[in-house]
Symmetry: C2
Subunit: 420 residues, 2 copies
Amino acid sequence: MQTLPGFREFAPEECAQRNYIFKTWRRVARSYGFVEYDGPTLESVELYAKKNESGAEILQQLYQFEDKGGRAVALRPEMTPTLARMVATNARQYRKPLKWFSIASFFRYERQQKGRLREFIQLNCDLIGEAGASADAELLALVIDLLRAFGFTEKDFVLRISDRSAWMAFLEKRGVPAELVGTVLQAADKLERDTEEVLNTKLAPAGLTVAELKAFIAEGSPEAFAPLLADLQARGLSEFVEVDLSIVRGLAYYTGVVFEVFDRAKTLRALAGGGRYDALIKDLSDGAADLPALGFGMGDVVLANFIAAHPEATVRMQAAIAADSAAQIYVVVADDARRAEALALTQQLRQEGWRVDLPLATGVKFKKQFESAENLGAQYAVIVGQEWPQIKVKTLAKREETALPQSELADWLKKGENSL
Amino acid sequence: MQTLPGFREFAPEECAQRNYIFKTWRRVARSYGFVEYDGPTLESVELYAKKNESGAEILQQLYQFEDKGGRAVALRPEMTPTLARMVATNARQYRKPLKWFSIASFFRYERQQKGRLREFIQLNCDLIGEAGASADAELLALVIDLLRAFGFTEKDFVLRISDRSAWMAFLEKRGVPAELVGTVLQAADKLERDTEEVLNTKLAPAGLTVAELKAFIAEGSPEAFAPLLADLQARGLSEFVEVDLSIVRGLAYYTGVVFEVFDRAKTLRALAGGGRYDALIKDLSDGAADLPALGFGMGDVVLANFIAAHPEATVRMQAAIAADSAAQIYVVVADDARRAEALALTQQLRQEGWRVDLPLATGVKFKKQFESAENLGAQYAVIVGQEWPQIKVKTLAKREETALPQSELADWLKKGENSL
């Protein structure tokens, strides 16, 4: 009996890595004044059908079924529709701008590939109610600092920014009819993957060629990026950003800046991607709320691959996990006649906030108890035996032993914590 | 467009309450040396069918469907089968005992009632690989300390413990055939809910009456509880526990101690419940692993109701949430010509670990910026203006203002943090 293909178990070791990613995401997002929200795992199919064109990939990959009440329901494949509904429903009660983030599981029935699973976890950050380049810069700075917090530098990753409105202006100038805009953007999104022949065939009805798209992209940085880049420069983050109009993003609803983050080595899928979607909340809420917005998603699977491929980031993660060991203190019961006292001491230490473990059987050999202590990553062994209320504390890394009355242990540990 | 019935959104205010519950659960479980794990949200239906008798309530309530690959799959209604698989698969590599906890969403298509939702979150704690009363006591102590951490005392809740093996011995003594044991236990589980007449009809085939069950229950504390109670007494937790053989727990797989936690006011459903299931891992793993185990679940919905009904616990929660405000520092841009400097300072403060926000538009009025600062729960406003590199810091609660060079701000804040 196994997990379904594309689904994961997180045994404690993997869960610790996952929680390290979550904690880092949460800490950095919160340092930017973002607050956490979450939505239901299951939603009406209609919620997703509304945002996406019929036939869109995301709808084809839905985990979709009829519930016992006859409703067409789906496991959430993305967060944006839920977010838009939440914001639209209570738009008036919130002070703008909203800076909201969530860490949640998503589900897509995809073919399994490296970096792709059927249940994956994504950090979503959205900044809602502010239209200017300052808001764009704030969100891009957050993307950059999220990755820096794992130990990555400008040598490791790059944030490529583009502008959907520059694309729209170009296509309008070239007289591309509205119904073909999606086709052209999808072709532009595949410039590095499909052959020129295939793409030219796709572009022909719009009266465009691959060469023309490439010429537009090569024009490089339109002036529109100046305020955004100046803002990032003031933050000292210029080195992480490149203007690259070849970034298009497949989704139809983007209206302004769009961006993707890649590893410089180019061995992985995008680490994050997003953009500005100023019309989406209005569309999804049938006009109930009209707020400019931008956001991005960052998945756990590619990020974990990126950390694993990067020795420094791996060491940093391992150090964080080791410092957060299962137990800090192991209470060694040297004499079962003193078990009640050992229990009382354990209870006291736990109340004081320490992570404490002890043997749960009687007659466990001294040596085996110390093995348990090391196995759990404990820093201290507190030995309770015949000499009670005199006890011994052993600092496991240094193999130093101190004898003291049990009443002095709490203070001793507080000092010890500082000296470690 | 709304959420499905029985499903919840967590806007930031609700998410903060949820996260307070998660953080408290996590802190206390970890203080007992428990480590976190998680499993997939979607599993094979077979995994649940195997553990439960056909027709069991939990199977009738499954969110069950066929995926695009033709597999019969279900949203997880409980954690134990996933846990048993994880432990059984790698039983040899783990040092026993295992102390594992998880915080996860579960799904049951139930009629909506107070304290019951269709997607709910549950803390699951399991102690695996240790058969004695010490392990029972360790897990019961954890249940008690989890609730104490929210501010509840022995006046607010009680842990009622019973012994499935005492029931089995009684039924054996009375010659109840194996196939009727389930019927009797289910009747015993409903002594307070069903009428004596209904129950006597159910019990008749087993040759028992309500009066006889009540007599058995009234016998009270069998000697079997002595070691468990002595252990809890050594921890100073006796006041929280009552032996009560009327606690039976509906599920078939319990083999030893079973328990439920209730509010003393008896206005809520059980706050937590669990017990020992020494044969289940062997059964679920087809004999691949044979480990004694016990565990419990504690749901977020009833707990949140319990906190809301208890003024002290509510105040404690609100204080914790307020201390964890969206921003600690608000950078007030008093002069847009100094926006670049304000951005650089914001970046620096965030790198140092502070939660910092600032206006994302230009020309925002001074007064409005201070309103934002208060709205976000900031402790400090840092005012950047014409006098740069001289700045002002305002302690918002005390309305005290200090002028200082920006280079001294980091040190000033560190001292300020201590003095708050």
